[in-house]
């Protein structure tokens, strides 16, 4: 009897029991994790709201159904007609919060994607080449990290002028070093591993080694980071809009801007701060919950 036959027969049982690769395992953990499920449900909720905003919102975001009923001292709160009340211009607050989901999610997603792309590029350069390239890239990253994030975002947004794009780019830029550093660390760790040495010894070219082996094995924490960054990006976007650096277009309501607009009426109309504020917090919470648990599912180091 040859060895292989014995191994094939006796081990098949074992192998089947151990089957399921790392990713499947992570997925299984996530599906059983209530916190991750709640996070996912919250995110799904806001995404659906954003997509179906025209169907959900009773009014257009710039319609003023309450015009004439409004005085600076009398801004009606929630009622049967206007669930979240009216704002200072007589617009339906509920409709504006619903439409606001579009802006906040869009800013969060686009800013995170751009930031991640930039971080991946820099991180890959540094992690794949090492040496001088690494030193130069990482010094740039260090400088960027040494400037307080929001301050830098304000400066960038101010430089680019107030618009949705400048908010997105500003947030993207402050997140680039975070991603770059994370990825580079992962890649350097992978670079010294035996399977990379094995690929070199086989004669695999550098590019397939970096893109085919090192990068895919380094990417998981970056995905996790992206989920967490989405949460902070939503908050940062609100912050920048609050400071007046976002779009001023009344047709595109944005939660942060809405918060800023309520400042003067905070005493007489607290509902104007409450609903957009809750929306920001809950959306960010959803991404944070999912992101944290994703990290735990992927990386056993964080498991409790």
């Amino acid at each position: 009897m040859s060895l292989s036959e014995v191994e094939a027969t006796t081990e098949s049982e074992q192998v089947e029991q151990a089957a399921g690769n790392l990713r499947k395992e992570a997925w299984k953990r996530l599906r059983r994790d209530p916190v991750a499920l709640v996070g996912f449900a919250l995110i799904a909720f806001f995404v659906l709201v954003a997509i179906f905003a025209p169907l959900i919102a009773p009014y257009a975001p710039d319609a003023q159904p309450g015009r004439g009923m409004i005085t600076p001292t009398n801004i009606p709160g929630p009622s049967a007609d206007h669930w979240f009340g009216l704002d200072a211009s007589g617009r339906d607050e509920f409709s504006r919060v619903v439409y606001g989901a579009r802006q906040s999610l869009l800013v969060g997603v686009v800013a995170t994607l751009i930031g991640m792309a930039g971080g991946l590029l820099l991180g890959t350069l540094a992690g794949a080449f090492g040496g001088k390239v690494d030193a130069v890239v990482m010094r740039i990253v260090d400088v960027m990290l040494s400037i307080p994030g929001l301050l830098m975002a304000i400066a960038i947004a101010a430089l680019l002028g107030a618009s949705l794009w400048s908010v997105m780019i500003a947030i993207a830029i402050i997140n680039v070093p975070v991603f770059a550093r994370l990825l580079r660390g992962q890649m350097l760790a992978q670079r010294g591993s035996d399977y990379v040495l094995a690929a070199v010894s086989i004669g695999v070219r550098r590019r397939p080694i970096v893109l085919g082996h090192i990068l895919p094995n380094s990417i998981s924490p970056v995905i996790v980071q992206a989920t967490l960054t989405l949460a902070t990006a939503i908050i940062e976007a609100a912050g920048l809009s609050f400071l007046g650096l976002g779009s001023a277009d009344p047709r595109v309501p944005e939660w942060g801007r809405m918060l800023a607009d309520t400042q003067r009426y905070l005493a007489s109309a607290p509902h104007l701060a409450f609903f957009p504020g809750i929306a920001i917090v809950v959306a960010a919470l959803g991404f944070t919950m999912l992101g944290e648990r994703l990290r735990e599912a992927i990386d056993p180091k964080y498991r409790r």
Binding site: M1, L3, V6, E7, T10, E11, Q14
Partner: protein, 333 residues
């Protein structure tokens, strides 16, 4: 010496790890053996054989949660498994000491060796200050650490692997234990250092009259050191015998297979190796039959009908329905 009362009497020891949401795993399954004063006993097995878990259970070092320990471990007149924690702590270190495979993780990295050794002396021997320090120096020199006064001031990372293991043995010996359990003490070390450590253990056993339980995967280490050898597979003892009998004529196909599969330095070149097929993970549950059956060249039909009993034949214990015969050459397929 062989007629004296056993110092340690392990009876039907079993250890089961229970996991939340998963099947429980029986790592040690009805293991019994005795250690007499001055005797050196070997527990041999590969990964998953349960040899290390056995020693941890004896020492009371298994976590309490998720682990079920059954059976008895008699030491003097105490059952170590039911002893209160503080009594167990007293026995551990004073009467029974343990040396682990990885000396680095058994030492506190931020405390100098000297303090770690004197601490043990202060705790169990009531020595103080200079007396304790002098005793520590004496211990280190006894285990062959040169310049012990200087070494005492050093941190574990400043010592080489061999020196760390010596320091650990010194700590284990600090209270003149009557039983030393060494769990793969030389596996992480180079072969010339391994020889030094084994020679040291031999000497210490001879000089102090302590008993030694040597846990190892290396049959070579056992051959030169142990009086009695227990071969473990998948949580059970499959063969026990005096070392001469065991090596001269292994009866269990697993023991025979192990001996036939390791290259011997003194074997003529070209002597073929006869590996055991499969891997140690290819086990049958003992409840369904012999765990070794899937890999066994001597397997017969009844082997998979139920667990074979451990039987005494001719001065040895054997758990096999179709053992290698007296004259049979070690399984050649």
């Amino acid at each position: 010496m062989t007629n004296s009362e056993p110092l340690l009497d392990v009876r039907d020891l079993s250890v089961t790890f229970t996991r939340k949401g998963g099947p429980s795993v029986r790592a040690v399954d009805g293991v019994s053996f005795t250690v007499r004063p001055g005797e050196t006993v070997g527990l041999v097995g590969e990964s998953g054989s349960g040899k290390s878990v056995t020693s941890l259970a004896v020492m009371g070092l298994l976590p309490r949660r998720g682990v079920q320990v059954g059976g008895q471990v008699a030491f003097d007149d105490d059952d170590l498994l039911t002893l209160p924690r503080d009594r167990m702590r007293d026995i551990r270190g004073r009467d029974i000491a343990m040396v682990f495979q990885d000396p680095m993780s058994s030492l506190n990295p931020v405390v100098p060796i000297g303090i770690q050794v004197t601490e043990v002396l202060e705790r169990h021997q009531d020595l103080k200050g200079d007396t304790a320090r002098a005793a520590a120096e004496d211990l280190l020199s006894r285990v062959g650490i040169p310049d012990p006064a200087r070494r005492l001031k050093e941190y574990p990372h400043q010592l080489s692997g061999g020196m760390r293991q010596r320091a650990l043995i010194a700590m284990a010996l600090a209270c003149r234990p009557r039983l030393l359990i060494a769990d793969e003490p030389t596996t992480a070390l180079d072969v010339t250092i391994q020889a030094q450590i084994i020679e040291l253990l031999k000497e210490l056993v001879q000089d102090t009259g302590a008993s030694l339980v040597m846990i190892t995967h290396d049959l070579g280490v056992v051959a030169g050191l142990c009086d009695t050898v227990h071969v473990m597979y998948s949580g059970r003892i499959v063969e026990s015998a005096g070392r001469r009998e065991l090596f001269a004529q292994p009866r269990h196909p697993y023991t025979g297979g192990l001996l036939a599969s390791v290259p011997r330095l003194d074997a003529p070149r070209g002597a073929p190796l006869h590996p055991i097929p499969g891997s140690p993970t290819d086990v049958l549950r003992w409840s369904r039959g012999c765990a070794f059956a899937p890999r066994c060249p001597n397997r017969i039909e009844p082997c998979t009908d139920g667990p074979p009993p451990l039987e005494s034949i001719g001065g040895r214990s054997l758990r096999c329905l179709n053992p290698l015969t007296e004259t049979e050459e070690v399984a050649t397929r």
